[in-house]
C-alpha cells in the first residue's frame, strides 16, 4: 500500500471514531470532526458543482464551445439570473434578487403540480379501484380480505385528512380507523427500516476492523 492510501485509512478511522464518540457525549473531537465535515463537504460540492454543472452546462457551451459548434448565447440569461441572486448584498437593488427565486419557484411549482396530479393522485387512485368479484377474488378468501383491507385503509386515511368536517360521528369513527391504519403503517415501517440501518453500521465496523486494524482478509468496501 502506498503512503496516500495508508494516510487516508488512518484519517478515515480517526474521523469515524470522532463521530462515534458523539454517542457518549458531545466532545472536542466530535466538534472538530463536525467542523471539518462541514468544510470539506462544502468544498466538495463547490468542486462538484463546477465539474458537473458549470463546466459542462455553461462554460463549455458558452465560452469554450467545441470546434464547429456555435456559442450558445442564450445561456447568458441563466447566468444573469444566477448573478441576480447576489444583488441582495447591494441594499439599493436587493429586491432584484427575488426575480431569480420567483422564476425558480414558479417553474418547479408548475412541474411538481403536474407530477403530483398525473404521477401520484391518478395512478394511486386507479390502483384502489378494484373488483371484489373478478380476478379470482372469491377463489381465495385471503386475497379477498387483502383487497378489502387495502380499500378500507385508503379510504379511511383519506377521510382522516378531511379538514372541513369535525372528527365527530361517522366521520370521527372512520377517521379513527384511518389513524389506526396510519399507526400500523408507522410501526411496521419503523421496525422494518432498522434492518437497513444495521447494514450501514456493519459497513463501518468492517472498515475499522479490516482496513484500519488489518484483521481478516477483505470485506465490504
Amino acid at each position: 500500500m502506498d503512503f496516500g492510501t495508508v494516510a487516508a485509512t488512518w484519517l478515515g478511522a480517526f474521523f469515524t471514531l470522532c463521530i462515534l464518540s458523539f454517542l457518549y457525549k458531545d466532545n472536542p473531537f466530535f466538534r472538530f470532526a463536525e467542523s471539518v465535515f462541514a468544510g470539506v463537504s462544502m468544498g466538495y460540492y463547490i468542486g462538484n458543482t463546477f465539474g458537473q454543472t458549470f463546466v459542462p452546462n455553461l462554460v463549455h457551451p458558452l465560452f469554450t464551445p467545441p470546434e464547429g459548434t456555435p456559442r450558445e448565447w442564450i445561456l447568458v440569461i441563466p447566468m444573469l439570473l444566477g448573478f441576480l441572486l447576489y444583488t441582495r448584498y447591494v441594499k439599493k437593488i436587493a429586491w432584484v434578487s427575488r426575480f431569480s427565486l420567483a422564476i425558480y419557484v414558479g417553474y418547479y411549482t408548475g412541474v411538481n403540480m403536474m407530477q403530483k396530479l398525473q404521477g401520484e393522485v391518478l395512478p394511486q387512485s386507479a390502483d384502489t379501484v378494484v373488483s371484489f368479484w373478478r380476478a379470482g377474488a372469491f377463489a381465495n378468501v385471503g386475497n379477498w380480505i387483502s383487497l378489502l383491507v387495502v380499500v378500507v385503509g385508503v379510504l379511511s386515511v383519506l377521510v382522516y385528512f378531511f379538514f372541513s368536517a369535525e372528527h365527530k360521528g361517522v366521520v370521527g369513527g372512520v377517521s379513527r380507523l384511518g389513524i389506526w391504519f396510519l399507526m400500523v403503517s408507522f410501526g411496521a415501517a419503523f421496525g422494518y427500516t432498522i434492518m437497513g440501518r444495521i447494514s450501514i453500521l456493519i459497513g463501518r465496523v468492517i472498515f475499522l476492523i479490516n482496513q484500519w486494524l488489518g484483521i481478516g482478509n477483505g470485506g465490504v468496501a
Binding site: 458523539f22 462541514a38 463537504s41 425558480y104 419557484v105 378494484v130 373488483s131 385528512f161
Partner: protein, 290 residues
C-alpha cells in the same frame, strides 16, 4: 383604466422567459397544435381541481365563513414558542434539506414566517440553519420580512438564518451538535427530510425540547411520529400556513381541495361498485394515462 407599470413589466417577463427559448427551440415540424392525449385525464383533473379551488377562494373572499377542523400540531406552535420565551432559550427551525423546488419546503417557509413573527414579537431568539442555498436565500427573505412586520427589524442579523453546508449528513452533524450544546427549548423540523429525520429528532428529544415536526415524506413519518411531540402528516403540512394565518382566501383553497378529495373518494367507491358488479373497468381505466 389607468395604465399600470405592470403591463410593460409583464411583456418584459414574457420576452425574458419565453421568446428566446421559443425562437431557438429546434424540433421536428411534424408536430402541430394539439392536446397531449396521454395526459388528458390529468388535464380534466387539473381543470376541475383549479376550478373548484378558485371558486372557493372567491367565495371566501366574499366573506363566507369557512370551518376547518383542529390540527393539534399547529395549535402547539404558540405553546412551543411560549415555552422558549419563558425559559429564555432559543427556537430552532429546520426547514428540511431540500431546495425550494420542493413544495414541502415552500410550505415550511410559510410556517416559518408565522413562527418568526411570534419569536420577533416576544424577542425570543430564533435560529434557522440551512442545507440548501436557495432555501437559505428564501428563508432569509421570509424571516427578515416577518421581523419587519412584527416591528422588530433590529433583532434580525446574518446569524438568525444561516447556512451550514450542502451535505445532508454534515448538516445533520452540525445541527445535532447545536441541539446538544445550545439546548433550544423548541425544535421545529418541518419540510422535506430523508434519512437524517431520526438523527435530528432523536438528538432533539434527548435535550428535552418540545418538538414539532411536519413532512410529506412517507418513509420518514414513522420516525417523526415516534420521537416528536407533534407531527404534521402529509396533507396537514400543506394546510398549515392556511390554518395558521386564518386568512379566508387561504382557507378557501383548503376547502376546495377537500371538495376535490370528496369527488375522488366518490369516484373510487363508485368505480369499485361498477367494476365488481358489472366488470366494467371504465372508471379504473380513465384514471390511467390514455
Amino acid at each position: 383604466m389607468r395604465k399600470h407599470p405592470i403591463t410593460e413589466v409583464s411583456v418584459a417577463a414574457v420576452l425574458l422567459l419565453l421568446a428566446p427559448g421559443y425562437a431557438l427551440a429546434q424540433a421536428p415540424e411534424t408536430i402541430s397544435w394539439g392536446l397531449r392525449m396521454e395526459n388528458f385525464s390529468a388535464l380534466i383533473l387539473f381543470v376541475v381541481f383549479s376550478g373548484v379551488v378558485m371558486t372557493f377562494i372567491r367565495l371566501a373572499h366574499g366573506g363566507r365563513d369557512l370551518y376547518i377542523r383542529r390540527i393539534a400540531g399547529l395549535n402547539a406552535v404558540e405553546e412551543a414558542i411560549g415555552r422558549s420565551t419563558e425559559l429564555g432559550k432559543k427556537v430552532l427551525y429546520v426547514p428540511g434539506i431540500m431546495s425550494i423546488d420542493e413544495v414541502q419546503t415552500l410550505a415550511s417557509l410559510a410556517v416559518l414566517k408565522h413562527v418568526a413573527k411570534h419569536t420577533a414579537q416576544y424577542g425570543t431568539p430564533l435560529e434557522v440553519p440551512n442545507k440548501d442555498p436557495l432555501t437559505y436565500a428564501a428563508a432569509r427573505e421570509t424571516v427578515k420580512e416577518a421581523y419587519l412586520e412584527a416591528g422588530r427589524p433590529d433583532l434580525f442579523n446574518e446569524e438568525v438564518v444561516n447556512y451550514v453546508t450542502y451535505d445532508q449528513f454534515a448538516y445533520t452533524a452540525a445541527v445535532t451538535g447545536k441541539m446538544v450544546r445550545e439546548k433550544p427549548a423548541a425544535n421545529f423540523l418541518v419540510g422535506s427530510f430523508y434519512a437524517e429525520s431520526l438523527l435530528l429528532a432523536e438528538a432533539g428529544q434527548s435535550t428535552g425540547a418540545i418538538q414539532i415536526a411536519g413532512t410529506a415524506e412517507v418513509a420518514q413519518l414513522p420516525f417523526f411520529v415516534t420521537t416528536c411531540d407533534y407531527t404534521l402528516i402529509g396533507e396537514e403540512l400543506y394546510a398549515a400556513s392556511a390554518y395558521l394565518s386564518r386568512e379566508p382566501v387561504m382557507l378557501g383553497s383548503i376547502k376546495g381541495q377537500d371538495i376535490v378529495k370528496f369527488i375522488l373518494l366518490c369516484w373510487i367507491v363508485l368505480g369499485i361498485l361498477i367494476y365488481t358488479f358489472t366488470g366494467n373497468t371504465a372508471m379504473h381505466d380513465w384514471l390511467l394515462s390514455q
